[in-house]
């Protein structure tokens, strides 16, 4: 089983509120904010490692991002991934989900030999949940989203897919793309040996030339969506505390207010 896992580096959730918006350029200002691996992507890496440990094969982790995304890749090597690829090129900057998916697809085609491609169900910053589905379309392979359990059968994959109420069981032929939920597993901590090994391991850097994509297919130029305006929602107006001697009085005042606003 050769498994490719696509991961995205995102701002640490604990620091998400520190991300500011640059209203001039319609971009997010993330400098100085610690990054983590998109949490669902850690589940994807863990699942890939578990499948490999059972069936043998190779786990390749890939991300498109700036040079510091190397740290995220190194973390996955420490967990036990075999190879890491960073798609990094100034011309990729400003890619929307479509252009991101084009770049990832080309990279997957360069790798060539794969049975399974894993994604997180969505990125916690972009939140579109589009990249996995788009890549599978571009590669023309089956897609199963929101996996909570994966089983590899002979040339096939069996997946429990989370629904609003319950789950459904689906089967698809390999190669196949799957996006995973948090429920699927608990990502391991890196072992000390893994950390020491990952420190010395080479991370492959691929640019547009290596991906054989044209400049106009990716980056801002290759992005059909344009961000017109980006803004923080206005802060919620402050609530009003209802004062009173005791609970009964407070409840009475509240009822009065609700009535006067014709809410009840």
């Amino acid at each position: 089983m050769n498994i490719i896992v696509c991961i995205k580096q995102v701002p640490d959730t604990e620091h998400l509120h520190e991300v500011t918006i640059n209203p001039e350029s319609n971009t997010l200002n993330r400098t100085g904010i610690p990054s983590i691996i998109n949490p669902f992507d850690s589940n994807a890496v863990e699942e890939a490692l578990r499948i490999k440990e059972k069936l043998g094969g190779k786990v390749t982790v890939m991300t498109m991002g700036p040079p510091q995304a190397e740290n995220a890749l190194r973390e996955t090597l420490a967990m036990g991934a075999d190879e890491a690829i960073l798609l990094s090129d100034i011309k990729l900057a400003g890619s929307d989900t479509w252009a991101t998916s084009v770049a990832l697809t080309r990279a997957i085609e360069v790798i060539g030999d794969y049975d399974l491609i894993l994604f997180g169900k969505q990125a916690i910053d972009g939140d579109t949940a589009q990249v996995g589905p788009e890549v599978s379309e571009l590669l023309a392979i089956p897609l199963i989203t929101y996996a909570r359990k994966i089983e590899i059968l002979d040339g096939k994959i069996k997946v429990e897919r989370v629904l609003e109420e319950g789950y459904e069981v689906l089967e698809a032929k390999l190669p196949c793309a799957v996006t995973v939920t948090k429920e699927i597993n608990e990502p391991r901590f890196a072992s000390m040996r893994g950390i020491l090994k990952a420190r010395k391991q080479e991370i492959l850097h691929w640019n547009l030339e290596k991906l054989k994509v044209k400049e106009e297919e990716v980056g801002l130029k290759g992005s059909p969506t344009q961000v017109i305006r980006i803004f923080s929602p206005p802060p919620r107006p402050k609530g009003e505390m209802i004062e009173g001697e005791n609970t009964e009085e407070k409840v009475a005042k509240l009822l009065e207010k609700l009535k006067s606003h014709r809410i009840i």
Binding site: F189, M192, R193
Partner: protein
């Protein structure tokens, strides 16, 4: 001189901090209140059992300084987990230092992976006076038969591999002691009484009952009569570990006290604004830093192959005192809430006391330090 951790140590520490905050610390209260054995296997899965074990036996050969930096973090998150983890060293070290090739291959590889270790010296009549061990090892047909009782043994029952001190020649006293590697399932080896303690309720401290416990000859460490030396050297190295355990408890007390004193408001001000409280924090922080430096130096000397015993005794003696003082101060800063079990500082205070007792009491440490000093400056 360089006080900076290297890149490898930093990366390892970062991951250990993560496991401590996500898994170890959240369980500390349960480990104490339910007397549950801590999750040592989680640490084993991260290769942490093999930190000081040479690479040829499956370890990482990172030395005692790296071990110390990591163990402080574990002890800070949960002192019981830290001490249980530390007690492994008392089994690893004597095999590393005194074992032959066969013994190292057989046992260190297991201890580096996921076997829990323990060390058994103390007996009802032999505590500080370690030379007066009564457990007997009688040799018959190429086998040793051990009979006697060990008490207080940390990790006892959970451990797979034990290093046990017994007398092969009672007429020679301390010089007649020998050290044996004993496996858990050996016939004649049973776990007796569990000791109920002031703190560390999740840490097994048990009686080992040995009745004609049959040990193959090849499980003797070094030679007959080397047992006292094995025990003393093991304690010397172990003192770094116990000192680090105390340091973790002290550091936790400081961090809890700082946090609480900033949040608790009295007389319309956070209590951290009162100088009397600030001075408690200042003393804690200063003493903790001093204890850390003593212990790091002991570990560094050990890693350099230099005499480290004096510094290890100083570090253990001082860090355990600092842990006691700091936890008492922390309870004071928490006021009435500090005396309740709703906050962790009362537990820390109960835990701190142990460090002044095990691995040689504070009095014994001072005896050792004084002997060294009297020799050094004569």
């Amino acid at each position: 001189m360089d006080f900076e951790l290297n890149e490898e140590q930093k990366l390892m520490l970062e991951e250990v901090k993560k496991v401590c905050s996500e898994k170890i610390a959240p369980q500390a209260e349960q480990v104490e209140k339910e007397g549950r054995f801590p999750r040592l296997m989680l640490l084993a899965s991260m290769d942490l059992f093999g930190l000081v074990i040479p690479e040829e036996y499956g370890g990482l050969d990172m030395g005692f300084l790296t071990w110390s930096v990591i163990a402080e973090e574990i002890s800070k998150a949960c002192a019981t987990t830290g001490l249980s983890f530390g007690a492994n060293i008392l089994c690893v070290y004597p095999i590393m230092a005194f074992g032959n090739e066969e013994q190292k291959k057989k046992y260190l590889t297991r201890l580096a992976k996921d076997s829990i270790g323990a060390f058994g010296l103390t007996e009802p009549e032999a505590g500080s006076d370690a030379g007066s061990v009564k457990t007997q090892a009688v040799k018959k047909n190429g086998k040793y038969y051990l009979t006697g009782r060990k008490i207080f043994i940390t990790n006892g029952g959970e451990a797979d591999i034990y290093v046990i001190i017994a007398s092969t020649d009672p007429s020679r006293g301390a010089r007649g002691l020998s050290a044996f590697i004993v496996e858990k399932d050996t016939p004649g080896f049973t776990i007796g009484q569990h000791f109920d303690k002031m703190g560390f309720k999740g840490l097994p401290n048990v009686e080992l009952v040995l009745e004609d416990c049959e040990i193959p000859e090849e499980n003797l460490l070094r030679r007959e009569g080397a047992g006292f030396k094995v025990a003393m050297d093991t304690f010397a190295a172990g003192r770094i570990g116990v000192g680090i355990g105390a340091l973790g408890v002290a550091q936790r007390a400081l961090e809890e006290a700082v946090k609480y004193s900033r949040e608790r408001v009295q007389f319309e001000k956070p209590i951290a604004s009162f100088q009397a409280v600030q001075h408690l924090l200042a003393d804690m922080a200063t003493e903790i830093e001093a204890a850390r430096l003593l212990l790091y130096k002991a570990a560094w000397l050990k890693d350099q192959g230099k005499p480290f015993e004096k510094l290890a005794s100083m570090g253990k003696y001082y860090a355990s005192r600092v842990a006691m003082d700091s936890t008492v101060k922390a309870v004071q800063i928490f006021g009435g809430y500090g005396y309740t079990t709703d906050y962790p500082v009362e537990r820390l205070m109960r835990e701190a006391k142990l460090f002044e007792i095990i691995e040689g009491t504070s009095e014994i440490q001072k005896n050792i330090i004084a002997l060294k000093v009297l020799k050094e400056y004569k």
